[in-house]
Symmetry: C2
Subunit: 274 residues, 2 copies
């Protein structure tokens, strides 16, 4: 068992996983990525990750150098040969080596098996705080490597003791830097429809919740945030995390509501059986 990675056709030690400094991701931020995880040792809806990576790449005129089947096989092998408690995999596709924007060459394609980040159990019981920030991600439907704004605002997030930022723009409430946002207004579950990354967990929650609640994919105004009855965020590693506070407003009196608990249960059941 050792730490491995895949780089342009070869599986190698993570220590040999290096990229030349003329790569366009390093020089010009030209890259897309995706992040898949396992449940019960098995990659979870991983084809959705690969498909989204392909779409992200395509929007930026890049293409995956190997097939979906091959990516799946390599990811399985990396997970098998790595010693990870809860394996996840990061897929990165960069613009490749070039010093000049018009002269594009072969992209660099990287697969890294990683230990899934974990979060304290208490936050699932008590909920977390979000702070609202005015910002619109540039190409929201593209999972690009651009997280500059999240890094820029990291000290603010810490200072405000918030778990995540909640972005809003002229389009309304959108998403968190690395999570999707959902709100209950009564028994109706609302999640922003556009100007967001369509998370794989998000899309599953929409499907699974529809058995029990009315679900609306639509834009949500900042004013409506004051009237939400419950809220939660979703992400691959985070699953469903309840929101107890947005800025200075407590949600559901600062405790986790029964509808959010129902969503967490539905999702847990789904992943346990996967």
């Amino acid at each position: 068992m050792k730490n491995l990675c895949y780089l342009n056709g070869e599986i190698k030690s993570i220590n040999d996983g290096v990229i030349g400094i003329s790569d366009l991701a390093l020089q010009r931020g030209y890259g897309v990525f995706d992040f898949g995880r396992t449940y019960n040792g098995k990659l979870f809806h991983f084809d959705d990750n690969i498909e989204r990576l392909r779409r992200s790449a395509s929007e930026l005129h890049l293409s995956l150098p190997i097939s979906k089947h091959e990516i799946h096989e390599i990811a399985d092998q990396l997970i098998e040969e790595s010693d990870l408690e809860t394996p996840s995999v990061r897929l990165i596709l960069t613009g490749g080596y070039s010093y000049s924007i018009p002269v594009l060459k072969r992209p660099n394609f990287i697969i890294i098996p990683e230990e899934l980040p974990t979060y304290p159990i208490e936050i699932y019981d008590r909920g977390v705080k979000l702070i609202t920030v005015e910002y619109q991600r540039e190409l929201p439907h593209v999972k690009s490597i651009n997280y500059l704004n999240a890094f820029r605002l990291e000290p603010l997030r810490r200072e405000k003791n918030a778990f995540e930022l909640l972005y809003h723009s002229q389009h309304g409430v959108t998403e968190c830097p690395r999570s999707n946002f959902f709100a209950f207004l009564g028994n109706t579950l609302v999640t922003p429809s556009e100007y967001v990354l369509h998370g794989i967990t998000r899309n599953l929650i929409i499907k699974l919740a529809a058995n029990q609640f009315q679900v609306e994919e639509r834009m949500l105004s900042v004013e409506e945030l004051h009237n939400v009855d419950e809220a939660f965020i979703t992400a691959t590693s985070k699953r469903v995390i309840p929101i107890s506070k947005i800025d200075n407003t407590e949600i559901n009196n600062g405790s986790v509501g029964h509808r959010t608990k129902a969503i967490m249960r539905i999702f847990d059941e789904y992943t346990e059986e996967y």
Copy 2:
């Protein structure tokens, strides 16, 4: 004579200039850079590049690991030992190695000597075409590595046979992805004051032009573009390139005007004597 680079304290062959795949520039686009050039073999206003890199880094909570003096010395050495016709240097500072946003470690600092890109001589005689595109760079005063939008629109630029994009937003006309924009309205030279990167060539042109023209740093509306008498763009490698057309509108009947020629001459004289 060989191809060299500087990486975290060491000068090495460019082939050994590699970065591990857990670097945050590769994973999350977390990096800033700057680009200096020589005239007559001497680095040109290079302290301005270093100072701007320091400011860009600071906005994103990064700091330069070595002093201005050391950077200057290393750049001089790299240029001396490289076989370049017109040497230029690229400085890149990344977020360093980490898999997690909150856990930041030591940044990676890279200096690469490069051959200065050259442009066909005709474009300085005839001018080039710009196409306008609605877009606002995220952190315009920060020279971050984020050029995703320029890559995304590269096919459009080619299709429209344009030399560069000219961005505008709710703030007015701003800049090109890698150049600053200037326009003459009569004998008054106007260049956007805010929401742009303050280019080193731009700042010099403002100073040098002031001896001969009235210079206004102010926002310029898209409508005003139809009434400009002359226009040009500036950048470190491009120097002063005249604009003969913006979208379908010819500037100065599609030829290079005498005021722009005066600016080109003033700048050439300044750099020849540097």
